[in-house]
Point group: C2
């Protein structure tokens, strides 16, 4: 069975040494000194390691079952959820006005990494609830907030997001679910939604569905979509549960992974719904918290990579096969551990360098969200909006790749269920698809975010990288050569790609759109290059100060060096692909395929 | 449910237009004119499309079961196997002396592509039998050949390869299975073998196990391994089945994919075995047909990509979401088919360009094997030995990637079992692992094949590419720019990588071994670049001659152009990684991870 050890030390290194949270001016950050962080993360680690991780293979093997409209979650899930609730983990970054703990989102992100790595399918139940909480918190009336949020903060009630219908996912303008106004001010919701994660289950007293639907007078397309609260049980004025609403689970999806999470077909048969926010403004309301939701998926992606890497590493340290060609390392054994072999090492370094870089990138993104929300910092908001599709698309692609690499480390054992690596691969796979496929992320990046506000956010990003290089250049020859030079080159490639889009996208938008996916990856590499440069600096500062665990900080620098030398050169290939333009991509007529 | 349409036209294009088989001097090739090929492949296509493909999801869902030592294969597998036998498909390239049809291996390869694409788990049963047939054919005594081969040619009897033990897979020198000489000249085989594909099942009257074991007087390591035939039922002198041998299936592996194939723990409890070839020379005997076996796995890898691509394409043509930004393509519908979107197109083109390039590469390799075996052509043997790890490693990595891309084309539907794409991903995954992991392939390539015979095979490969470029340069400006220039650049990168190994591998072998995986991929891209150049030439020749399907040949050229423009630039990144050497890869002590 796979193991999971929460990477608390690595997390604190990012939060405290690299991002220097407690020195920041964001409300709530001043309390995040090293000891407080340590205490919170240590407690979360216990739950992740001892409760959630052991249930991960159980959830995979058992899956969820639907019988007479009732969905049963796997053995142990309900108990684990109770422990999550009792520990207050569902309320971490929620509004204290509704019973939340008011901690920063970045702390919830670090905890979320652990819970997702330990048991992604499980953590989706509170995760989806949190998403629904966010939407109601941002757009609900005071009355709606009072009615639903306290119970959603504690996760006594769950929450879901209902967007997709059988004939439309990405193109939500096509949805058919109807909302008919009733005399009492409510709406009768009728239609079918599919792929609703946590749509029905046995772990919460009530489930609050957020549903996109169209009013009878709705304009065509996405401008005619409204958002509704549709509770599984209607809520009485005193807060007690009332009548069962006309919403039911019509089936469970059989799928590649995340078996422990119930992916439901939801049927709304004139169910009572309540409008959230304004009529026809449902898309905006649903997507207000999109940066956070998509960052959360990026987090899932690299978290699966992180746990897979841990297990690959353990195997590589233990498994004896062959001898080190430069000299036997384990003379008393029948063979050397496979970690001595350069190609196994390459594989492990690819995993390690990605996972740790991705962690820094994600936490940085989460800190930007805190800054945007708590300080109303428009620059931070612009920057995180720009980078959200990169975090989601790049980190889930690479996170999945990392699970595949980790599986490969185990050879044949990686293909067996027994070792659990193959589950990480199957679970990670969905992160590239949901919350907007990675192709859609790349369109969002190139078609929308790049040019937003006259392109000033991406300019600011380039200035930031340039400023970073200028600030640190010339102090340390090795750092210049191993970090700043490759970062500069990669950043130049990214700028050249942006320039190509500007010059050629005007003539033909397909010149930009054909390169959008490569651009997203190019951007991701530059961000991870920046993160590794920052981590190397922070580690060097610790080493210079002579405090802490020398080997730990030296390892950070060596791992960063690996990323810069072996991963960052990908930016050159991405640029070449982008600069080949639309012609090779679009040369065929659809019928010629 | 996924569909499969055998790509007969594409196959004949490769065999007849590109490789020009019937013009070749290999015995048996003169009969392979276009009509004969067409007739054979059309018949195979019917079986693949109508019998094997529909059983693919059945095999996945049901898997195999073990009860009281009996392994039951999924519903319909036995009937399908009977049809395979009755059609003579198991005997295609077998020796006529033992009932085979004596057709070239390259034809069996084309048929194998169909069967593997249609149902990989199923096709492993005859596939493994064929491998065992090959080993006995090459190394068995006349008596053994007479006893076993005729029944293995018809697949009335199955065959298996028993190498791996719980504590050793790659490092076979560590095996513990014992072979004790008996008075009658046979051996008593005792030990446990794991991951034995088709080790036990209900589709054949007998199963002939080929087992690696050690004699009591065996030298240490791989030089002390002998090969034995261990039949499930002993065979009487008259050819009838005798006593049940002391070999049994102790368990079935639960695994990520290929559920329809029984992956067995095999227990040998003093089972009667018969030495094949010389004592202590078992490794050599087992690996004689390694080129063919590994090419077969490369074939499986791209075949899964091929069927996945077909289904992705169908979805992209049908699914309506969003509008073409350059102008509506389907004004009467609610949206355009997603194939209009450049990023969907990029995804499909990546799949298509890989699959068709891989097909040409594999068939070319198979033709080299025919040439090596039938003409005793040492140059062909040297070339295919060099390229076998590339075919196996590169095509399975990219084949798996292609299934993942295809799954992505379907968005959320790709993650559901219903659409079947996720099965292709899970099935393809094993091809990167078995028959030597892809890491091991890269070591074989760089550590053994590159320097074999003083490096003359790789020199000959470079000369061949150079000669090809020189021969065709200057006739057509577009072809020069779109094919020959990128091929030349990629080939230069490959040579530079080889040069780096020569200059730095002497100082420290880890400088070569740290880049072995990148080298394998670099090599693969050059080979596919060469194949696409050859295909473009062949297609242009057809267009110039004004015969055949113009759109088909134009599509070939456009697809090739895509590969050259968008995939070949990867060679630059691989070279940079290689040239970064061992230092970043090996910087950490094993304990520092």
């Amino acid at each position: 069975m796979p193991i999971y050890t929460a990477p608390v030390k690595d997390q604190i290194f990012v939060l405290d040494d690299v991002l220097k949270l407690s020195a920041d001016d964001v409300p709530g950050y001043d309390e995040l000194d090293r000891d407080t962080l340590q205490a919170i993360l240590d407690e979360a680690a216990k739950l992740a390691e001892n409760v959630l991780a052991p249930l991960n293979p159980v959830g995979d093997a058992e899956g969820c079952t639907l019988e007479n409209g009732v969905v049963r979650t796997p053995t142990g899930f309900k108990d684990a959820f109770d422990q999550l609730r009792e520990g207050g983990w569902t309320a971490l970054d929620c509004d204290p006005d509704y019973g939340g703990q008011g901690l920063p989102y970045v702390v919830a992100t670090a905890v979320g990494e652990m819970f997702s790595a330990a048991n992604m399918a499980f953590n989706m139940y509170p995760g989806l609830t949190h998403g629904a909480y966010n939407a109601i918190h941002a757009h609900g009336s005071d009355d709606q907030k009072q009615t639903y949020l306290p119970k959603m903060v504690t996760c006594e009630w769950g929450g879901t997001m209902n967007l997709t219908e059988p004939h439309c996912g990405t193109d939500l303008g096509l949805i058919r679910t109807k909302a008919e106004p009733q005399d009492d001010g409510s709406y009768a919701i009728t239609g079918q939604k599919i792929w609703i994660s946590a749509g029905e289950h046995d772990m919460c007293d009530n489930i609050i569905h957020l549903v996109l639907a169209k009013l009878p007078d709705a304009p065509e397309g996405v401008k005619g979509i409204s958002l509704f609260i549709v509770p599984k049980f209607l809520v009485n004025e005193d807060g007690s549960l009332g009548a069962r609403n006309a919403v039911s689970c019509g089936g469970l999806e059989s799928k590649m992974g995340i078996h422990g999470n119930a992916t439901c077909v939801m049927n709304y048969d004139g169910a009572t719904g309540f409008l959230v926010g304004e009529k026809h403004k449902g898309m905006r309301a649903m997507f207000t918290m999109m940066n956070e939701a998509r960052l959360g998926v990026g987090l899932q992606g690299f978290a699966q990579g992180a746990v897979a890497y841990q297990n690959a590493l353990g195997f590589a340290q233990d498994r004896l096969q062959g001898r080190d060609v430069t000299g036997t390392k384990n003379p008393d054994g029948p063979a050397d551990p496979i970690i001595v072999h350069p190609d196994v090492r390459r594989n492990l370094m690819d995993q390690k360098a990605f996972v740790e870089g991705a962690r820094a990138f994600t936490y940085w993104g989460a800190a930007l969200i805190d800054r945007a929300h708590r300080n109303q910092d428009a620059k931070a908001e612009g920057l995180i909006s720009l980078m959200t599709p990169v975090i989601k698309g790049f980190l889930t692609d690479k996170g999945f790749e990392t699970t595949v690499l980790a599986q490969q480390t185990l050879g044949g054992s990686g293909f067996t269920r027994e070792w659990g690596l193959e589950q990480f691969v199957r679970d990670a796979r969905i992160t590239m698809i949901y919350e907007g496929t990675n192709g859609v992320q790349s369109l969002d990046l190139v078609g929308r975010k790049l040019g937003a506000d006259g392109g000033k956010h991406v300019m600011r990003f380039f200035d930031m990288v340039k400023g970073f290089i200028a600030e640190h250049k010339g102090r340390d020859e090795a750092f210049d050569a191993q970090f700043l030079e490759p970062l500069k080159q990669a950043s130049k490639d990214l700028q050249a790609a942006g320039m190509y889009f500007m010059q050629n996208g005007m003539k033909n938008p397909n010149n930009a759109l054909s390169g959008s996916y490569d651009f997203m990856h190019l951007f991701g590499h530059v961000c991870l290059g920046l993160m590794w440069s920052r981590m190397a600096l922070a580690a060097q500062a610790r080493l210079d100060a002579g405090d802490g665990d020398t080997a730990f900080y030296e390892t950070k620098i060596a791992t960063g060096r690996y990323y810069m030398a072996r991963q960052l050169p990908m930016t050159g290939t991405h640029l070449k692909r982008i600069e080949s333009g639309a012609e090779p991509v679009m040369a065929l007529e659809a019928a010629q395929f």
